[in-house]
């Protein structure tokens, strides 16, 4: 290599820091929006930070919010790496939660550890089914998965509304006139244990362990390799003998499964029951969407998705303090999340330019090969 290792190192550092710049740029635009809303941005961001990290409880709350983001995000890492755009996190969370809740409310005389494990598995399965359907439609019927997963979200919401008002309604509510649409409460025995004397629960630890497993899956197993190969070039993969359709289904199935687990963890770790206000976000807190943002921010890398999820968890928790401090609706955070993605995706061009530059330098030395012809994806660093 002709170029000095120093400049190479510097370029890589800049690449790694791009998301941070993107987040700062989004916060800067957010500050302008706050000014337009006649709020003091410094005061607002101070309240946001304090709300997210100001005390043990605040930080625990941030981690509690980050947990479903990470779980959904892990599924997104798998799906998006397979070039399958899974927008169905919300619906997959809901169906996973329904499956898990059913197990938790049915086998009430079984031991706690067994029911918890089975419930988590049921959540995984529920999400896998809800992700697998669009996966099958994409692989075998050529149906656009972006749209089908969005539609599956809406279908899942109505399924939840039906079940929580009908067959799965809390028996005590069924007799009342109010009929609050919620299930019965889980037995105390079946709740995910808390880790420290805060609301932080075992689910956070499960999510981190799974992040490592997903890393292993994607980069150390044949399945992961094939999912990524299909994602980067389905034609070459087919030529290499990979059954492309299987791996398209698998990418969506696994993506859905992790979202389903997120839904199960939400019920068993936080709410201890399912309750609906008629919308998806009423149950998921939009984690199915924000998990996508977190995973993209983490460069679709399971390990980097951990800090990314904590960041967005902090934004969500801090938004409420911000709302109290400067009277700006917490929905501003939705716009901020979008802006972060806007800047992350915009900054890609700089990374690509440098990569192309490096490639053309390398090509000059190794002989004739048109760098423009190399698919950019194929040379992206594979850790």
């Amino acid at each position: 290599m002709k170029f000095s290792s120093h400049s190479e190192w510097f370029a890589r550092l800049i690449d790694a820091l791009l998301p941070v710049f993107a987040a700062l740029a989004a916060l800067a635009v957010g500050a302008v929006m706050l000014l337009l809303l006649k709020a003091d941005p410094l005061e607002a961001y101070r309240a946001l930070l304090e709300g997210a990290f100001g005390s043990t409880n605040a930080f625990a709350e941030t981690l509690v919010k980050a947990t479903p983001l990470l779980l959904v995000g892990l599924g997104i890492c798998i799906s998006f790496r397979g070039d399958v755009i899974n927008i169905g996190g919300e619906g997959q969370m809901i169906v996973g939660a329904i499956f898990a809740t059913w197990v938790g409310l049915t086998f009430t005389d079984w031991p706690g550890w067994l029911v918890i494990s089975l419930s988590m598995l049921a959540g995984f399965l529920g999400g896998a089914i809800w992700g697998g359907i669009p996966g099958y439609l994409k692989a075998y019927l050529n149906v656009n998965e972006i749209l089908s997963t969005v539609m599956m979200n809406a279908i899942a919401v109505q399924l939840m509304n039906f079940l929580l008002r009908g067959p799965m309604i809390d028996p005590s509510q069924a007799q009342l006139a109010s009929k609050i649409p919620q299930t019965a409460r889980l037995l105390e025995l079946f709740r995910l244990p808390r880790l420290v004397p805060t609301r932080l629960h075992l689910g956070a630890l499960i999510a981190v362990v799974l992040a490592i497993l997903v890393y292993y899956l994607l980069w150390r197993t044949i399945w992961g390799y094939r999912i990524r190969a299909v994602g980067q070039n389905p034609h070459a993969s087919r030529y290499a003998g990979i059954k492309v359709q299987h791996y398209v289904v698998l990418a969506l199935l696994l993506g859905g499964a992790f979202s389903g687990l997120a839904g199960a963890v939400q019920v068993f770790g936080v709410n201890y029951r399912m309750i609906t206000d008629g919308s998806a976000s009423g149950f998921t807190g939009s984690a199915g969407f924000n998990g996508i943002v977190a995973a993209l921010f983490g460069q679709l890398h399971p390990i980097w998705s951990i800090p990314a999820s904590i960041l967005f968890g902090a934004l969500l928790v801090g938004a409420n303090s911000m709302q109290r401090a400067v009277q700006v609706p917490s929905a501003l955070v939705t716009a901020l999340n979008g802006l972060v993605v806007v800047f992350v995706v915009s900054s890609e061009i700089w990374r690509r330019r440098r990569q192309r530059h490096r490639l053309s330098l390398a090509a000059e030395m190794t002989g004739p090969s048109d760098p423009n012809n190399l698919p950019i994806q194929a040379v992206q660093t594979d850790e």
Binding site: M33, L37, I85, I87, L137, L141, N142, V143, N144, I146, L147, S148, V150, M151, M152, A154, I155, Q158, L159, N161, F162, R165, G166, S279, S281, F289, I292, V293, L296, V328, P329, A331, L332, V333, T334, A335, L336, N337, G338, L339, V341, V342, V345, S346, E348, I349, R352, N372, N373
Partner: protein, 322 residues
């Protein structure tokens, strides 16, 4: 439950989808997939409603809604056309940004009361046509009539004019269009803007005509996504887009109205006596969209039709490929 009233209301509801679908169709024909329709519609609905409250003039509201959504679409245009970024991710981000901004600025609007709505009227002679007159030309909002005009105009423009030819060239083979001296970048910016304006108009149609008011995210309730799906079903043809939109509109109305009466087709109405069965009805538009996608995709394979060849691909000057 009168079938004619349902169809009449269905046409009005379908007009929302019609504007959004044709707008997205223009953007996609130029090669830019914009998944931010839902966000742009929300911005449009919120802007139309709040500006109309402030000024008392719904026409100013409609214009500002189109402008606001058009401006929002230019973020997507800049990221995908100039910065060559991934259209899917950018479109998703646009949905977040649009939703977030409209929720923040729309805070409190839901309690704002009533506004001056756009005029509704019957068309003198056409309303006399049996059946069709009652469904299409009686007491409809002026926007519905604009929709009738827009559909054939869009078809004619895309298929029979020089501008439409340029649009298709840029979407099918931008390198060739570029070689002929067309400005690929400017063309794409323009049609993404058109798509944004029509999405804004769709939003305004909801908040000022079809279901007046501001109900946060529920104002659009996922119709922006259905519109993106309808473009595929329509195989990028405005006439089919209109057909699909009106069918969907009628379906939405039917689902609302079917739960009302106690007797349905001579039987006790199950949706009236078991209200929670209604949730299955509410799944229908979405399940139907999936079905429509299956049909659209199969047809595309069979007839070798399909998306504009350069859809989703950034155009980089001087690079080989499309």
């Amino acid at each position: 439950m009168d079938a004619i009233i349902i169809l009449q209301a269905g046409v009005a509801t379908g007009t929302v989808l019609l504007f959004a679908t044709i707008g997205e169709l223009f953007a996609e024909r130029s090669g830019v997939l914009n998944l931010g329709v839902e966000g742009m519609m929300l911005i449009g609905a919120m802007t139309a409603f709040s500006i109309t409250i402030a000024t008392g003039n719904p026409w100013i509201g409609v214009c500002m809604a189109m402008l606001a959504a058009g401006l929002l679409s230019q973020i997507h245009a800049f990221i995908t056309i100039t910065l060559l970024a991934d259209q899917v991710v950018s479109g998703l981000a646009l949905t977040f940004v649009g939703t977030g901004i409209s929720l923040v600025l729309g805070e409190g609007l839901s309690k704002a009361g009533t506004v001056a709505l756009l005029p509704s009227f019957s068309i003198p002679v056409l309303a006399q046509i049996p059946l069709l007159g009652a469904i299409f030309f009686t007491k409809q909002s002026i926007l519905v009539y604009i929709g009738y005009l827009l559909t054939p105009l869009a078809w004619y423009y895309i298929n029979r004019t020089r501008g439409g030819l340029h649009l298709r060239a840029v979407g099918e083979y931008p390198a060739a269009a570029d070689a002929l001296g067309l400005n690929v970048f400017r063309t794409r910016y323009f049609y993404v803007f058109v798509g944004g304006m029509l999405a804004g108009l769709a939003g305004a149609t909801i908040s000022l005509a079809v279901a007046p008011g501001w109900f946060s995210e529920l104002t659009t309730g996922g119709q922006g996504w259905i519109a993106v799906g309808l473009v595929i079903f329509a195989q990028w043809d405005p006439l089919r887009a209109a057909g699909g939109s009106y069918i969907f509109g009628a379906l939405r109305r039917l689902i609302l109205d079917i739960q009302g009466p106690t007797i349905l087709l001579g039987f006790k109405n199950p949706f009236y006596y078991n209200p929670y069965w209604g949730f299955f009805l509410q799944m229908l538009p979405y399940a139907f969209t999936v079905l429509v996608l299956v049909i659209g995709s199969r047809e595309a394979i069979r007839k070798r039709l399909g998306a504009p060849a350069a859809l989703g691909e950034p155009y980089i000057r001087g690079e080989r490929g499309l």
